[in-house]
Protein backbone atom coordinates (compact mmCIF):
# COMPACT_ATOMS: atom_id res chain seq x y z
CA UNK A 1 0.00 0.00 0.00
CA UNK A 2 1.33 3.43 -0.88
CA UNK A 3 1.26 5.53 2.23
CA UNK A 4 -0.55 8.84 2.35
CA UNK A 5 2.58 10.66 3.47
CA UNK A 6 4.42 9.38 0.38
CA UNK A 7 1.69 10.59 -1.89
CA UNK A 8 2.16 14.11 -0.62
CA UNK A 9 5.86 13.81 -1.34
CA UNK A 10 5.19 12.48 -4.84
CA UNK A 11 2.88 15.30 -5.62
CA UNK A 12 5.14 17.96 -4.23
CA UNK A 13 3.50 21.31 -4.15
CA UNK A 14 1.61 20.78 -7.36
CA UNK A 15 -1.87 21.36 -6.09
CA UNK A 16 -4.33 19.13 -7.78
CA UNK A 17 -6.54 21.48 -9.72
CA UNK A 18 -9.90 19.87 -9.55
CA UNK A 19 -12.67 21.89 -10.90
CA UNK A 20 -16.06 20.81 -9.74
CA UNK A 21 -17.80 19.26 -12.67
CA UNK A 22 -21.43 18.46 -13.12
CA UNK A 23 -22.20 14.76 -13.13
CA UNK A 24 -22.62 13.73 -16.76
CA UNK A 25 -24.95 10.76 -16.44
CA UNK A 26 -28.16 11.05 -14.43
CA UNK A 27 -27.70 9.49 -11.03
CA UNK A 28 -30.37 6.94 -10.04
CA UNK A 29 -32.36 8.34 -7.14
CA UNK A 30 -32.96 4.84 -5.73
CA UNK A 31 -31.23 1.47 -5.80
CA UNK A 32 -32.52 -1.99 -4.96
CA UNK A 33 -30.82 -2.62 -1.62
CA UNK A 34 -31.62 -6.35 -1.64
CA UNK A 35 -29.87 -6.75 -4.98
CA UNK A 36 -26.87 -4.67 -3.94
CA UNK A 37 -26.47 -6.49 -0.59
CA UNK A 38 -25.38 -9.69 -2.32
CA UNK A 39 -22.20 -8.12 -3.73
CA UNK A 40 -21.25 -5.89 -0.86
CA UNK A 41 -17.60 -5.52 0.22
CA UNK A 42 -16.35 -5.72 3.78
CA UNK A 43 -16.95 -2.80 6.08
CA UNK A 44 -14.07 -0.66 7.28
CA UNK A 45 -14.35 -0.41 11.06
CA UNK A 46 -14.70 3.28 11.98
CA UNK A 47 -11.89 4.89 13.91
CA UNK A 48 -12.87 5.62 17.56
CA UNK A 49 -12.51 9.35 16.98
CA UNK A 50 -15.11 9.24 14.20
CA UNK A 51 -17.72 8.57 16.83
CA UNK A 52 -16.02 10.73 19.47
CA UNK A 53 -16.01 13.67 17.05
CA UNK A 54 -19.73 13.27 16.41
CA UNK A 55 -20.30 13.01 20.17
CA UNK A 56 -18.30 16.17 20.83
CA UNK A 57 -20.58 18.14 18.52
CA UNK A 58 -23.51 17.34 20.81
CA UNK A 59 -21.90 19.19 23.70
CA UNK A 60 -18.68 19.38 25.66
CA UNK A 61 -17.35 16.09 26.92
CA UNK A 62 -14.79 15.97 29.69
CA UNK A 63 -12.54 13.47 27.94
CA UNK A 64 -10.02 13.54 30.79
CA UNK A 65 -12.47 11.43 32.80
CA UNK A 66 -12.10 8.62 30.30
CA UNK A 67 -8.32 8.63 29.84
CA UNK A 68 -6.75 5.35 30.88
CA UNK A 69 -3.05 4.63 30.98
CA UNK A 70 -2.93 1.45 33.09
CA UNK A 71 -0.25 -0.75 31.69
CA UNK A 72 -2.61 -3.72 31.85
CA UNK A 73 -1.58 -7.31 32.21
CA UNK A 74 1.20 -9.06 30.34
CA UNK A 75 -0.39 -11.78 28.30
CA UNK A 76 1.31 -14.49 26.37
CA UNK A 77 -1.66 -15.61 24.26
CA UNK A 78 -1.57 -13.81 20.93
CA UNK A 79 -5.39 -13.37 20.66
CA UNK A 80 -5.39 -11.58 24.02
CA UNK A 81 -2.47 -9.36 23.02
CA UNK A 82 -4.30 -8.47 19.79
CA UNK A 83 -7.49 -7.51 21.66
CA UNK A 84 -5.48 -5.49 24.17
CA UNK A 85 -3.55 -3.73 21.42
CA UNK A 86 -6.83 -2.60 19.82
CA UNK A 87 -8.09 -1.39 23.17
CA UNK A 88 -4.86 0.52 23.91
CA UNK A 89 -4.93 2.22 20.49
CA UNK A 90 -8.52 3.30 21.24
CA UNK A 91 -7.20 4.65 24.57
CA UNK A 92 -4.76 6.67 22.49
CA UNK A 93 -7.64 8.31 20.62
CA UNK A 94 -9.35 9.09 23.95
CA UNK A 95 -6.15 10.65 25.33
CA UNK A 96 -5.91 12.76 22.15
CA UNK A 97 -9.50 13.95 22.68
CA UNK A 98 -8.41 14.96 26.19
CA UNK A 99 -5.20 16.53 24.78
CA UNK A 100 -3.32 14.68 27.51
CA UNK A 101 0.34 14.66 26.49
CA UNK A 102 1.73 12.31 29.19
CA UNK A 103 -1.07 9.79 28.59
CA UNK A 104 -0.56 9.80 24.82
CA UNK A 105 3.19 9.29 25.25
CA UNK A 106 2.68 6.41 27.64
CA UNK A 107 0.18 4.82 25.31
CA UNK A 108 2.64 5.20 22.40
CA UNK A 109 5.20 3.22 24.38
CA UNK A 110 2.65 0.64 25.41
CA UNK A 111 1.63 0.09 21.79
CA UNK A 112 5.27 -0.55 20.87
CA UNK A 113 5.69 -3.05 23.66
CA UNK A 114 2.53 -4.95 22.69
CA UNK A 115 3.48 -4.94 19.01
CA UNK A 116 6.85 -6.43 19.96
CA UNK A 117 5.14 -9.31 21.72
CA UNK A 118 3.32 -10.29 18.55
CA UNK A 119 6.32 -9.76 16.29
CA UNK A 120 5.07 -6.70 14.43
CA UNK A 121 7.10 -4.03 16.23
CA UNK A 122 9.32 -3.15 13.28
CA UNK A 123 6.33 -2.10 11.20
CA UNK A 124 5.20 0.51 13.71
CA UNK A 125 8.35 1.87 15.35
CA UNK A 126 8.40 5.08 13.28
CA UNK A 127 4.68 5.67 13.91
CA UNK A 128 5.03 5.11 17.66
CA UNK A 129 7.85 7.68 17.67
CA UNK A 130 5.68 10.08 15.68
CA UNK A 131 2.87 9.64 18.23
CA UNK A 132 5.23 10.60 21.05
CA UNK A 133 6.68 13.56 19.10
CA UNK A 134 3.21 14.73 18.08
CA UNK A 135 2.05 14.62 21.70
CA UNK A 136 5.08 16.65 22.80
CA UNK A 137 4.29 19.29 20.19
CA UNK A 138 0.54 19.04 20.83
CA UNK A 139 -0.13 18.37 17.15
CA UNK A 140 -3.23 16.35 17.86
CA UNK A 141 -4.34 15.79 14.27
CA UNK A 142 -0.90 14.34 13.53
CA UNK A 143 -1.21 12.05 16.55
CA UNK A 144 -4.64 10.88 15.35
CA UNK A 145 -3.19 10.15 11.92
CA UNK A 146 -0.26 8.26 13.42
CA UNK A 147 -2.53 6.19 15.66
CA UNK A 148 -4.53 5.25 12.55
CA UNK A 149 -1.30 4.42 10.69
CA UNK A 150 -0.09 2.35 13.64
CA UNK A 151 -3.22 0.24 13.67
CA UNK A 152 -3.18 -0.07 9.89
CA UNK A 153 0.48 -1.15 9.82
CA UNK A 154 0.00 -3.65 12.65
CA UNK A 155 -2.94 -5.18 10.85
CA UNK A 156 -1.15 -5.21 7.51
CA UNK A 157 1.84 -6.95 9.10
CA UNK A 158 -0.50 -9.50 10.69
CA UNK A 159 -2.23 -10.11 7.37
CA UNK A 160 1.14 -10.65 5.71
CA UNK A 161 1.99 -13.21 8.41
CA UNK A 162 -1.37 -14.90 7.68
CA UNK A 163 -2.62 -13.80 11.08
CA UNK A 164 -5.78 -12.19 9.66
CA UNK A 165 -7.82 -13.34 12.63
CA UNK A 166 -5.50 -11.55 15.05
CA UNK A 167 -5.85 -8.47 12.88
CA UNK A 168 -9.63 -8.70 13.23
CA UNK A 169 -9.25 -8.95 17.01
CA UNK A 170 -7.29 -5.69 17.03
CA UNK A 171 -10.29 -3.96 15.40
CA UNK A 172 -12.70 -5.66 17.78
CA UNK A 173 -10.69 -4.62 20.86
CA UNK A 174 -10.74 -1.02 19.66
CA UNK A 175 -14.45 -1.08 18.88
CA UNK A 176 -15.31 -2.49 22.32
CA UNK A 177 -13.28 0.18 24.13
CA UNK A 178 -14.72 2.92 21.91
CA UNK A 179 -18.26 1.68 22.55
CA UNK A 180 -17.60 1.46 26.29
CA UNK A 181 -16.60 5.12 26.36
CA UNK A 182 -19.38 6.22 24.00
CA UNK A 183 -22.00 4.59 26.24
CA UNK A 184 -20.37 5.99 29.38
CA UNK A 185 -20.56 9.53 27.96
CA UNK A 186 -24.17 9.13 26.77
CA UNK A 187 -25.17 7.43 30.00
CA UNK A 188 -23.88 10.36 32.01
CA UNK A 189 -25.86 12.93 30.10
CA UNK A 190 -28.48 11.16 28.00
CA UNK A 191 -29.36 12.66 24.63
CA UNK A 192 -31.24 10.81 21.91
CA UNK A 193 -28.74 12.00 19.31
CA UNK A 194 -25.90 10.60 21.40
CA UNK A 195 -27.65 7.26 21.81
CA UNK A 196 -28.29 7.17 18.06
CA UNK A 197 -24.51 6.92 17.52
CA UNK A 198 -24.81 3.37 18.85
CA UNK A 199 -26.97 2.34 15.90
CA UNK A 200 -24.34 0.10 14.29
CA UNK A 201 -26.08 -3.16 13.35
CA UNK A 202 -23.87 -4.03 10.39
CA UNK A 203 -20.69 -3.58 12.38
CA UNK A 204 -22.04 -5.90 15.01
CA UNK A 205 -22.87 -8.50 12.36
CA UNK A 206 -19.40 -8.02 10.88
CA UNK A 207 -17.73 -8.81 14.21
CA UNK A 208 -20.09 -11.70 14.96
CA UNK A 209 -19.32 -13.22 11.57
CA UNK A 210 -15.59 -12.97 12.21
CA UNK A 211 -15.82 -14.48 15.71
CA UNK A 212 -17.85 -17.34 14.27
CA UNK A 213 -14.79 -18.24 12.20
CA UNK A 214 -12.44 -18.44 15.20
CA UNK A 215 -13.24 -21.76 16.89
CA UNK A 216 -9.56 -22.43 17.63
CA UNK A 217 -9.25 -19.11 19.50
CA UNK A 218 -12.42 -19.77 21.46
CA UNK A 219 -10.93 -22.99 22.81
CA UNK A 220 -7.55 -21.42 23.54
CA UNK A 221 -8.94 -18.14 24.92
CA UNK A 222 -12.36 -18.38 26.63
CA UNK A 223 -12.64 -14.57 26.55
CA UNK A 224 -13.20 -14.74 22.77
CA UNK A 225 -16.22 -16.95 23.37
CA UNK A 226 -17.48 -14.57 26.06
CA UNK A 227 -17.22 -11.64 23.67
CA UNK A 228 -19.11 -13.57 21.00
CA UNK A 229 -21.89 -14.33 23.48
CA UNK A 230 -22.01 -10.73 24.66
CA UNK A 231 -22.40 -9.38 21.12
CA UNK A 232 -25.51 -11.53 20.80
CA UNK A 233 -26.87 -9.68 23.86
CA UNK A 234 -25.97 -6.28 22.42
CA UNK A 235 -27.47 -6.85 18.96
CA UNK A 236 -31.18 -6.38 19.81
CA UNK A 237 -30.33 -3.26 21.82
CA UNK A 238 -28.76 -1.38 18.92
CA UNK A 239 -30.03 -3.17 15.86
CA UNK A 240 -33.65 -2.12 15.72
CA UNK A 241 -35.03 0.94 14.00
CA UNK A 242 -36.52 2.09 17.33
CA UNK A 243 -34.82 4.88 19.22
CA UNK A 244 -32.14 3.60 21.59
CA UNK A 245 -33.37 4.03 25.15
CA UNK A 246 -31.39 5.14 28.23
CA UNK A 247 -31.83 1.58 29.58
CA UNK A 248 -30.30 0.12 26.42
CA UNK A 249 -27.35 2.51 26.67
CA UNK A 250 -26.84 1.53 30.30
CA UNK A 251 -27.00 -2.17 29.44
CA UNK A 252 -24.52 -1.84 26.56
CA UNK A 253 -22.21 0.10 28.86
CA UNK A 254 -22.36 -2.69 31.44
CA UNK A 255 -21.58 -5.31 28.82
CA UNK A 256 -18.73 -3.44 27.13
CA UNK A 257 -17.21 -2.39 30.46
CA UNK A 258 -17.22 -6.02 31.58
CA UNK A 259 -15.62 -7.15 28.33
CA UNK A 260 -13.02 -4.41 28.22
CA UNK A 261 -12.10 -5.06 31.83
CA UNK A 262 -11.58 -8.71 30.93
CA UNK A 263 -9.44 -7.67 27.95
CA UNK A 264 -7.03 -5.65 30.09
CA UNK A 265 -7.01 -7.88 33.17
CA UNK A 266 -5.55 -11.32 33.63
CA UNK A 267 -8.35 -13.68 34.65
Amino acid sequence: MIQFRNIFRLNGVAAFGFSIVAVAAPVPQRIDVQKVSTTVQNVVVPRPDEVFGALNKLGGVNWKEYVRTDRGSNFTERPRIALLLGSVIADGFIAVQAEDTPAVKEIGQRVQSLAERINVKSSITQHAKAIIEGADKKRWDNVRKELDRTQNEVQKAMDELHDEKLSQLVSLGGWLRGTEVLTAVVNKNFKEEGAELLHQPDLLMHFQGQLQEMPEFKTQTPLIDQIHGALVEVKPLIGSTQKISPEAVRKINEITTRLDSAIVTKQ
Binding site: M1, I2, F4, I7, F8, L10, N11, A15, F16, F18, S19, I20, V21, A22, V23, A24, A25, V27, P28, Q29, R30, I31, D32, V33, V36, S37, T39, V40, Q41, N42, V43, V44, V45, P46, R47, D49, E50, V51, G53, A54, L55, K57, L58, D141, R144, K145, D148, R149, Q151, N152, E193, E196, L197, L198, H199, Q200, P201, D202, L203
Partner: protein, 149 residues
Protein backbone atom coordinates in the same frame (compact mmCIF):
# COMPACT_ATOMS: atom_id res chain seq x y z
CA UNK B 1 -1.75 0.24 -16.45
CA UNK B 2 -0.25 -0.94 -19.76
CA UNK B 3 2.93 0.95 -18.97
CA UNK B 4 3.25 -0.63 -15.57
CA UNK B 5 2.53 -4.04 -17.03
CA UNK B 6 5.26 -3.62 -19.65
CA UNK B 7 7.76 -2.53 -17.03
CA UNK B 8 6.79 -5.32 -14.70
CA UNK B 9 6.95 -7.87 -17.54
CA UNK B 10 10.48 -6.84 -18.48
CA UNK B 11 11.62 -7.10 -14.89
CA UNK B 12 9.82 -10.33 -14.26
CA UNK B 13 11.12 -12.38 -17.17
CA UNK B 14 12.50 -15.05 -14.89
CA UNK B 15 9.76 -15.07 -12.31
CA UNK B 16 7.00 -17.60 -12.21
CA UNK B 17 4.02 -16.14 -14.12
CA UNK B 18 1.75 -16.58 -11.14
CA UNK B 19 4.00 -14.55 -8.88
CA UNK B 20 4.27 -11.82 -11.50
CA UNK B 21 0.49 -11.67 -11.78
CA UNK B 22 0.11 -11.44 -8.03
CA UNK B 23 2.60 -8.57 -7.87
CA UNK B 24 0.85 -6.84 -10.76
CA UNK B 25 -2.57 -7.10 -9.14
CA UNK B 26 -1.28 -5.66 -5.85
CA UNK B 27 0.62 -2.87 -7.59
CA UNK B 28 -2.31 -1.75 -9.64
CA UNK B 29 -4.71 -1.43 -6.74
CA UNK B 30 -2.02 0.52 -4.92
CA UNK B 31 -1.70 2.78 -7.97
CA UNK B 32 -5.44 3.31 -7.95
CA UNK B 33 -5.22 4.18 -4.26
CA UNK B 34 -2.59 6.81 -4.96
CA UNK B 35 -5.02 8.50 -7.37
CA UNK B 36 -7.86 8.30 -4.85
CA UNK B 37 -5.59 9.95 -2.29
CA UNK B 38 -4.63 12.58 -4.84
CA UNK B 39 -8.31 13.45 -5.16
CA UNK B 40 -8.53 13.68 -1.36
CA UNK B 41 -5.55 15.99 -0.97
CA UNK B 42 -7.31 19.38 -1.29
CA UNK B 43 -9.86 18.31 1.33
CA UNK B 44 -7.19 17.53 3.92
CA UNK B 45 -6.44 21.25 3.95
CA UNK B 46 -10.11 21.80 4.82
CA UNK B 47 -9.79 19.64 7.92
CA UNK B 48 -10.85 16.24 6.62
CA UNK B 49 -9.00 13.31 8.15
CA UNK B 50 -8.38 10.62 5.58
CA UNK B 51 -8.46 7.03 6.82
CA UNK B 52 -5.57 4.68 6.16
CA UNK B 53 -7.93 1.81 5.37
CA UNK B 54 -9.39 1.66 1.91
CA UNK B 55 -11.33 -0.58 -0.42
CA UNK B 56 -10.06 -1.73 -3.78
CA UNK B 57 -10.51 -4.21 -6.59
CA UNK B 58 -11.12 -4.36 -10.30
CA UNK B 59 -14.21 -4.02 -12.44
CA UNK B 60 -15.09 -4.38 -16.10
CA UNK B 61 -16.65 -1.49 -18.01
CA UNK B 62 -20.26 -0.85 -16.90
CA UNK B 63 -19.77 -2.95 -13.75
CA UNK B 64 -20.57 -1.74 -10.24
CA UNK B 65 -19.55 -2.68 -6.75
CA UNK B 66 -21.19 -1.84 -3.44
CA UNK B 67 -19.39 -0.99 -0.24
CA UNK B 68 -21.35 -0.80 2.99
CA UNK B 69 -20.11 1.62 5.60
CA UNK B 70 -21.15 2.83 9.03
CA UNK B 71 -21.53 6.61 9.13
CA UNK B 72 -22.32 8.82 12.10
CA UNK B 73 -24.76 11.72 12.16
CA UNK B 74 -22.88 14.87 13.17
CA UNK B 75 -19.88 14.09 10.95
CA UNK B 76 -19.34 15.08 7.36
CA UNK B 77 -17.79 12.57 4.94
CA UNK B 78 -16.20 12.53 1.52
CA UNK B 79 -15.50 9.33 -0.40
CA UNK B 80 -12.86 9.60 -3.12
CA UNK B 81 -12.53 7.06 -5.93
CA UNK B 82 -9.54 6.75 -8.25
CA UNK B 83 -8.06 4.52 -10.91
CA UNK B 84 -4.72 4.56 -12.68
CA UNK B 85 -6.45 4.04 -16.06
CA UNK B 86 -6.46 7.62 -17.27
CA UNK B 87 -8.99 7.14 -20.04
CA UNK B 88 -11.47 5.42 -17.76
CA UNK B 89 -14.58 7.15 -16.50
CA UNK B 90 -15.59 6.19 -12.99
CA UNK B 91 -18.28 7.24 -10.55
CA UNK B 92 -19.17 6.97 -6.88
CA UNK B 93 -22.55 7.60 -5.24
CA UNK B 94 -23.94 7.18 -1.74
CA UNK B 95 -27.31 5.67 -0.79
CA UNK B 96 -28.92 5.23 2.60
CA UNK B 97 -29.99 1.87 4.06
CA UNK B 98 -33.34 2.10 2.21
CA UNK B 99 -31.59 2.65 -1.12
CA UNK B 100 -32.35 6.37 -1.44
CA UNK B 101 -29.69 8.67 -2.89
CA UNK B 102 -28.20 10.44 0.13
CA UNK B 103 -25.26 12.47 -1.18
CA UNK B 104 -24.84 16.23 -1.38
CA UNK B 105 -25.16 17.97 -4.75
CA UNK B 106 -21.47 18.94 -4.79
CA UNK B 107 -20.42 15.33 -5.36
CA UNK B 108 -18.41 15.20 -8.60
CA UNK B 109 -16.94 13.06 -11.34
CA UNK B 110 -14.01 13.85 -13.55
CA UNK B 111 -12.53 11.11 -15.73
CA UNK B 112 -10.53 8.71 -13.61
CA UNK B 113 -11.43 10.51 -10.39
CA UNK B 114 -14.78 10.82 -8.65
CA UNK B 115 -15.99 11.88 -5.22
CA UNK B 116 -19.19 11.79 -3.21
CA UNK B 117 -20.04 13.99 -0.25
CA UNK B 118 -22.47 13.18 2.54
CA UNK B 119 -23.67 14.82 5.72
CA UNK B 120 -25.60 11.88 7.18
CA UNK B 121 -29.11 12.63 8.39
CA UNK B 122 -29.04 9.50 10.53
CA UNK B 123 -26.42 7.23 12.07
CA UNK B 124 -26.28 3.84 10.42
CA UNK B 125 -25.19 1.89 7.37
CA UNK B 126 -24.89 3.46 3.96
CA UNK B 127 -24.15 1.96 0.56
CA UNK B 128 -21.37 3.46 -1.49
CA UNK B 129 -21.70 2.38 -5.11
CA UNK B 130 -18.56 2.50 -7.22
CA UNK B 131 -18.76 2.03 -10.98
CA UNK B 132 -16.46 1.90 -13.95
CA UNK B 133 -18.65 3.53 -16.55
CA UNK B 134 -16.19 3.41 -19.45
CA UNK B 135 -12.68 2.04 -19.80
CA UNK B 136 -10.30 0.99 -22.56
CA UNK B 137 -9.12 -1.86 -20.29
CA UNK B 138 -10.85 -5.18 -19.86
CA UNK B 139 -10.51 -4.84 -16.08
CA UNK B 140 -9.97 -1.53 -14.34
CA UNK B 141 -8.47 -1.32 -10.88
CA UNK B 142 -10.16 1.03 -8.47
CA UNK B 143 -9.59 2.23 -4.93
CA UNK B 144 -11.94 4.08 -2.61
CA UNK B 145 -10.75 6.10 0.38
CA UNK B 146 -12.76 8.19 2.76
CA UNK B 147 -12.31 11.07 5.12
CA UNK B 148 -14.38 12.76 7.80
CA UNK B 149 -14.51 15.90 9.89
Amino acid sequence: MNGSFALLSRRSLFLAPLLALAVLARGSVDDAQSFALQAAEPYVKEGFQVREDYWGGDLGAAEKKAVRQQLFKGNEYWFWLGTEVERAKISVHIYDAEGKLAEEPDSWQKGHFAAAHIIPKATGSYFIIVAVEESPEERTHWALVYGFR
